[in-house]
Amino acid sequence: MSVRQIARLPELIGSRRLSFIIIGLLAAYYVSLLIFSTMVHPAGVIGIAKTVPFQVLYIALFANLLACTLRRTPRWIRRCMKGTAVADDATPDRIIAFSDLSREQALDAAAKALEAEKYSLTRDGELAGGVRGRFGALGSLVSHWGMVIVLVGAFLSLNHRFVGEALVSEGDKFWGTAREYTSFNPPTSFRQNAPKVSFRVDKVEAEFWEDKLLFTKLAAQMHSPADSKGEPVVVRINEPIFSNWYTTSVRLTGYGFSPKYVLRNDMGKELESSWVNMSIFPPGSEDSFRVQMIPHRFYVKLYPDYRQKEGKPDTASMNLNNPVFHLKVASHKIVTFDGLLLPTQRADVEGYSLAFEGMKKWATVQVVKDAGYPAIFVGTLLICIGNLWRFVFFRRDIVAKPGPGGQSLFVYCRADSLSLSDRWAEAPLAAIEKALADASRNNE
């Protein structure tokens, strides 16, 4: 490769042609992803999207975008500084005749009209011109830098993201240690990746619509950090707590019940009791636990709003209005108890009795550390602002020059090709016509 070719490399990387090729390849890549998304689980699609060929494509996009943006930034800035001008061979958009006015007076009147229309003026002996939306080109600058920031954010998110799930009961504290998480990803280098976060779950509240499993409320009252006092923060499924410059979030993702079992001997003496986090919600789900003293396994189902339906136990709603447990006790595949249990009742099992004497809720909490989020938030916002800026505050130029003979003005109107209006020239042209007519009348 010659020195000249190497010198041209940035130009090649930032070329429009390469941009179009990359966008074309990306479109083809998305078609393949769409086909995969009909065939594999969503998690599989995410996995495919992370494979090397696609990463190469994104790196190429980033390089191209960065080179393009760097190359064009001075041009966009120069365009903002550029004054009004009209090409010599341009065709006038309107010819406005006037009488009883000198060329100078006509140009002055046109300049005043443009000024009244909020155009910044250029006035010399030969023309009166005005510009609006001079900084419209900055929209492109903002949106393209926004895209660069988005890609940087995506890179940070792909390579430095931590997600952990934890199960925390009402009244319990979470200090962010590895053993408190039920799972976390990436599974290695916990100390390096995990965020410093702590919280306390005070209360979990859930409400449902009719008897359907359709949440109309799922919220947890929390304190973060765990030892903090004062008013709790309400965390919802779509309203996490943010910390560390919006890079760390803690959100509620689900909930369940922790019944408190009490094991007694035949004399009624309490032998053992504990809260046990169980997956017995939604109704119909069965979970089991063991206690230390006896070899039995306790299988539990919950009817949160118990009723009989066609002679069978059922729940009227998902709300905890009238909880009844279905308990099955088994030892070595021999069932020793199988029946319904109210919170006040005991199940007798071979000289022992077990009762559920309390119930609290637990929350599944997701902790995410993602340094890419603030960058992507800012980047996508800049893309939107930049686009709308360019389309709404587009550059428009108006130039009035005396026509041949000196009794008419040739008016030229030019606007950015990316504008949301094509009737923008009507008002300034009407204003110039009116100004000339008024000036003629005054001269009479």
Binding site: I23, G24, A27, Y30, L34, T38, V45, Y373, S417
Partner: protein, 259 residues
């Protein structure tokens, strides 16, 4: 529900009647009348369900048709001479509404994952962008059939820019909400993939106009391809296998075939 359904049917009938009008002036009044009835039907449902009716195929088709009709009204009342573009823009709206009404119309409250202003604005911008893109598609179709005038191209290109701006905002609100809800900004959900693909294709077309000064009619004709992607993203998700996307909000998981 009866009033809402009656208003919807009346609006559909009036939209179709408008399409059958021999004069543009009559089309204008028919669309305005149908739009008013449609707006009242949407308002009634909004009050009844307590959220903007934008979820599930029935509400989604109704809202999208409303945005299309609003776009048509703007064109009809603002641009004399671009009626053909407005006409084509409107063509699918009443049939979209009929299609939507074959789904479950039950009034269901939103689940907590859908209750957010972010979601409302996300849908609002999506509706605006769809209206713009349909307008661009209509102008592109007219151009291909050699029936369009310069004004149709200009109106269509404005539609494309509106659509692109609206879609950028849809992406922004979607990305933010996805992070709030799932802790992940992008999940390669089919809807996200379709939208990103369409956004890139429209961006490509805008750059072709900007850098190579391609004629609007050519850009609009090419935008038909991008519009197919947009239309697929709106109307095919419900036919994907269950669990493939989180962008379906129908309370019944039946697969509906209109054929």
């Amino acid at each position: 529900m009866l009033i809402e359904k009656s208003l919807m049917y009346a609006a559909i009938a009036l939209y179709i009647a408008g399409l059958g009008c021999a004069r543009w002036r009559l089309l204008r009044f028919a669309v305005a009348g149908a739009f008013a009835l449609h707006t009242v039907a949407i308002a009634i449902r909004w009050v009844a369900v307590g959220h903007p009716p934008l979820f599930g195929t029935y509400e989604n088709t109704s809202a999208t048709a409303w945005f299309m009709a609003a776009t048509v009204l703007i064109v009809l009342f603002r641009y004399t001479g671009a009626e053909k573009t407005a006409f084509i823009t409107l063509v699918t709206a009443p049939f979209l509404m009929i299609y939507g009404m074959t789904f479950n119309l039950a009034r269901v409250p939103l689940t907590i994952s859908e209750r957010s202003l972010w979601v409302d604005f996300h849908s609002l911008f999506a509706g605006i962008s769809y209206g713009g893109f349909v307008l661009a598609m209509a102008a592109g179709l007219l151009g291909l059939l050699k029936k369009g005038a310069e004004l149709d191209d200009r109106v269509g290109f404005r539609g494309l820019l509106w659509g692109f701006g609206g879609q950028s905002l849809t992406l922004f609100t979607g990305v933010v909400y996805s992070y709030l809800l799932f802790g992940r900004m992008w999940q390669w959900d089919p809807m996200q993939t379709y939208t990103l693909m369409a956004w890139l294709l429209y961006a490509l077309l805008i750059h072709l106009r900007l850098f190579y000064r391609w004629e609007m009619s050519r850009i609009l004709a090419l935008s038909l391809g991008a519009f197919i992607v947009v239309a697929l993203s709106y109307w095919t998700l419900i036919y994907l296998p269950p669990g493939a996307t989180f962008h379906t909000f129908d309370i019944d998981s039946r697969t509906h075939f209109i054929f």
